[in-house]
Point group: C2
Chain length 110, copies 2
DNA sequence: TTGGAATATTACCGTTTGGTTGTGGAGTAG
DNA sequence: CTACTCCACAACCAAACGGTAATATTCCAA
């Protein structure tokens, strides 16, 4: 196997990235950002994801900190976008695997 | 964007998966499993990853629970293997992104 | 059967985390 | 200036988490 997680610094960085995706609220935020054609304001994110304002702010700050989401203030409001293609690829990979697994375990019952 | 994280059940499942990868100790375990040609026993994992026996046991149980690692007892010892290609693909994707990002930020300094 | 090796489990502790509430600051319109 | 909107931040709390130490449990060998 290749030298993927070579250094401890890489381990730390990667674990922070995965950890940021390992929360239901943050995944809802990413889903909202992925499914919206236009960039969403923080209020829009909170509404679509079903989170309080302060909660969305904290989670968005986390996603920005680890580099999964970009932040662009514009006048009074702040817009957020997912970092592509990384975020979409990760979701596609894991969701695909979970779907396949569920399908297989369902067919195993027949 | 496609209907990736469609249901709340999918959100929960996916968040558990990412959360399991979002820890430095568990990433070290996955690295040990990926880089070893032969399947590792729990003791082997603990030694390679630099963890205590009980700690490795807990983290391995977590990885097995979310379906990132398979467990196969054999006589007295228990062997573990990463679920491929999922684990390797995830590591490759994120490590590649992190490397690219670091490279870009380095070149931006010149 | 006795002993030892490999693993699982329990209890415990300090730290971190997700969520809420409340407040403050920056920007904008009237 | 005033009022309003949007956002960030601090304090706080309950719950979850990572790690350790000690204790089963299971299996094999002598």
């Amino acid at each position: 196997m290749k030298p993927f997680l070579a250094s401890d610094a890489m381990i730390d960085e990667v674990s922070c990235l995965f950890d940021a995706m390992g929360d239901a609220s943050r995944l809802k935020i990413l889903r909202a950002l992925l499914e919206s054609k236009e960039p969403l304001s923080q209020g829009g994110v909170a509404e679509v994801a079903g989170l309080s304002q302060a909660n969305a702010s904290k989670h968005l700050a986390c996603l920005v900190r680890v580099g999964l989401v970009t932040r662009s203030p514009e006048g009074n409001t702040v817009f957020f976008r997912p970092v592509l293609p990384l975020v979409a690829d990760l979701c596609e990979l894991v969701c695909g695997h979970v779907s396949e697994r569920a399908k297989a375990s369902y067919q195993a019952l027949t």
